[in-house]
């Protein structure tokens, strides 16, 4: 591993009560959720991580607690290094502070995480669904959200399934209003 990166990780762990995990030659820093904004500010201002490359989340339900991990990746263009940060989030009313104030592209990236995992970002300026329709129920990438499938229609059950399908001309369900 890059020496500069190792030094940064060491300082980060020390200052923000973090831990490290190592896998496939890469070290990730685990930070507590209340320190992530301060840590990102330090990464941005002090260590030259000027680009937020990615934010995503993982759901460990039901095996692990805390249920979610947020994954951040920061790029430092002047130093040519990148850093992975993971933030565990408990499953009941999951929430994390937004990084929008430091990295502007966190806006859409956090909206996507909210849409797919239901993790709320406090202080976010525009926390709406982004990929799914606004009136969608549930958060698709959670592990307790079923993949869903359509029942195959054969000759023996054709009529039964056909009767259940929505047909043209019928009223749309009440919940699907026009979206702004």
């Amino acid at each position: 591993m890059n020496e500069a990166l190792a030094a940064i990780i060491e300082k980060l762990v020390e200052r923000f009560a973090g831990q490290t995990i190592e896998f496939a030659g890469e070290t990730s820093v685990i930070l507590p959720v209340d320190k992530i904004v301060a840590a990102a500010q330090v990464l941005h201002d002090e260590f030259g991580f000027d680009m937020l490359a990615a934010i995503t989340a993982v759901d460990y339900w039901p095996a692990e607690s805390p249920r979610f991990h947020l994954f951040y990746r920061f790029n430092s263009l002047p130093n040519g290094i990148a850093l992975n940060v993971r933030v565990p989030i408990p499953g009941l009313e999951p929430a994390a502070p937004t990084l929008e104030g430091i990295y502007k592209n966190a806006n859409w990236r956090e909206r996507e995480v909210y849409d797919m995992f239901g993790i709320k970002f406090t202080g976010h300026s525009d926390l709406r669904r982004i990929l799914m329709p606004q009136d969608w129920e549930g958060h698709p990438l959670r592990k307790d959200y079923p993949l869903g499938y359509e029942e195959p229609q054969y000759s023996f059950n054709f009529d039964e399934i056909d009767a259940r399908k929505p047909h043209a001309g019928e009223k749309p369900p009440a919940s699907r209003g026009a979206q702004p």
Partner: protein
């Protein structure tokens, strides 16, 4: 009949100016089916006459749940879906997916396979840029460029068909190497293409670079400063058009890019014209890389011989019991990857294309996330287009080179 309702501002009040709420400016819906939005993109425009006050992009029309679907497929089978994300760059998507899987299970790739990957990825870059030059010139009303660009793109797609049997959704790059060796005609086909393409790029430039109408529509339009571009997470030619030298091929070389001699084209203006110039120059650099890779294309195997992860050749199955067992195990239950998470990135024609891949020790990805460049590049559209005319907005959408399959996944 359902009633047609007016566009209501409802949840969007915080995104528009007070003037819109007072009715002084007009809210206009553009898309999702519009020839210049390059896919199914809906924009809610706040207009003051012809001037854009604000743009609210609405994405997700092409959301296909690829990340969720991949979680229920084995590593080999999930790869097929990666082609369909960014349909202008299927080989690049395969490449980043395979790099992530290889990093996860610690699999080596033979040098010949790496060189083939580089050649195909660069040809893909040229073909994607050709589509871009053609369609975005079409957006600013230069019709004929489009026809010439698609002529050359056809030749690249023929090369893909030659090696993989498919023109677009190739799934040719596989974990541990490539599907099979390139046919003997491959070298001649690529050399023929390399012979004609530099003069053809000159032709496109002759049509556009000094064309006063094109310059009128592009110079000074959609400006973004270097600092802002980095803060907004822009990557690819959209970032390099603002003078920031960031290219994953140099930043963190993969597949042996460090052996090739090429430059990263930069422009400092940060407008639509600068992005056009960068992409044209990138095509010339891609030609250089393909030339070098083809000249020193090493001989040897094109797949790793670690049959725990890579299917054994067909010829061995009839004679070797072990090969038969490996074949059977790989295509029924797949291979198990160690528990852990990796992040891998490549330079796609649009910017940093990353994959976050996590395994729980089983044969299927536990979580896979595609960090797609178009997603960030589109996000910056309101910043770039404020104060410009609606007609310029069309040029700006074209210049950030989005693919909606890449945005929505």
């Amino acid at each position: 009949m359902t009633q047609i309702e007016e566009v209501s501002l409802g949840d969007l009040k915080h995104l528009v100016s007070d003037r819109a709420l007072a009715g002084e400016t007009m809210m206009l819906n553009m898309g999702p089916q519009h020839p210049s939005t390059h896919g199914v993109l809906r924009l809610l425009l706040e207009l003051d006459g012809e001037t854009v006050v604000n743009v609210i992009p609405d994405v997700g029309f092409l959301h296909t749940g690829v990340e969720k679907n991949m979680e229920s497929k084995t590593y080999q089978k999930a790869e097929v879906m990666s082609d369909r994300l960014d349909y202008m760059n299927p080989l690049g998507n395969n490449l980043v997916y395979c790099l992530a899987v290889e990093k996860l299970v610690d699999l080596d790739v033979p040098p010949r396979a790496q060189a083939i990957r580089v050649i195909l990825a660069e040809l893909q870059r040229i073909s994607s840029h050709l589509v871009w030059v053609g369609t975005s010139a079409l957006d600013v009303a230069a019709m004929s460029v489009f026809l010439y660009c698609f002529r050359e793109r056809e030749q690249i797609l023929d090369i893909f068909e030659l090696v993989s049997g498919q023109r677009m959704m190739t799934t040719y790059i596989r974990p541990g190497g490539v599907w099979r060796d390139v046919p003997v005609e491959f070298e001649k086909a690529v050399r023929d293409f390399l012979k004609i393409i530099p003069s053809r790029i000159d032709e496109y430039e002759a049509l556009l670079t000094k064309n006063p109408l094109f310059i009128d529509r592009t110079v000074g339009i959609g400006k973004i400063s270097a600092a802002e571009a980095v803060n907004w997470g822009l990557t690819g030619a959209t970032l390099r058009g603002s003078g920031v030298s960031y290219d994953v091929r140099k930043f963190a070389p993969y597949s042996g890019y460090e052996q090739y001699d090429f430059e990263i084209p930069l422009r400092s203006e940060g407008d639509v014209y600068a992005r056009y110039m960068v992409r044209i120059a990138e095509m010339r650099q891609a030609v250089r890389i393909v030339q070098q890779a083809l000249d020193k294309l090493p001989m040897g195997p094109v797949k790793s011989n670690n049959h725990k992860f890579v299917p054994p050749p067909r010829s061995e199955i009839g004679t070797s019991m072990e090969a038969l067992i490996h074949h059977f195990k790989l295509w029924t239950e797949g291979f198990n990857a160690p528990k852990g998470a990796v992040y891998c990135a490549v330079e796609s024609p649009r910017g940093e294309l990353g994959v976050y891949l996590e395994s729980d020790g089983g044969p299927k990805p536990y979580r896979i996330h595609f960090r797609t460049p178009s997603f960030d590049n589109l996000q910056v559209l309101p910043v770039m287009s404020k104060g410009h005319l609606v007609a310029d907005l069309v040029a700006i959408i074209g210049s950030v080179d989005i693919v909606l399959g890449d945005v929505d996944r």
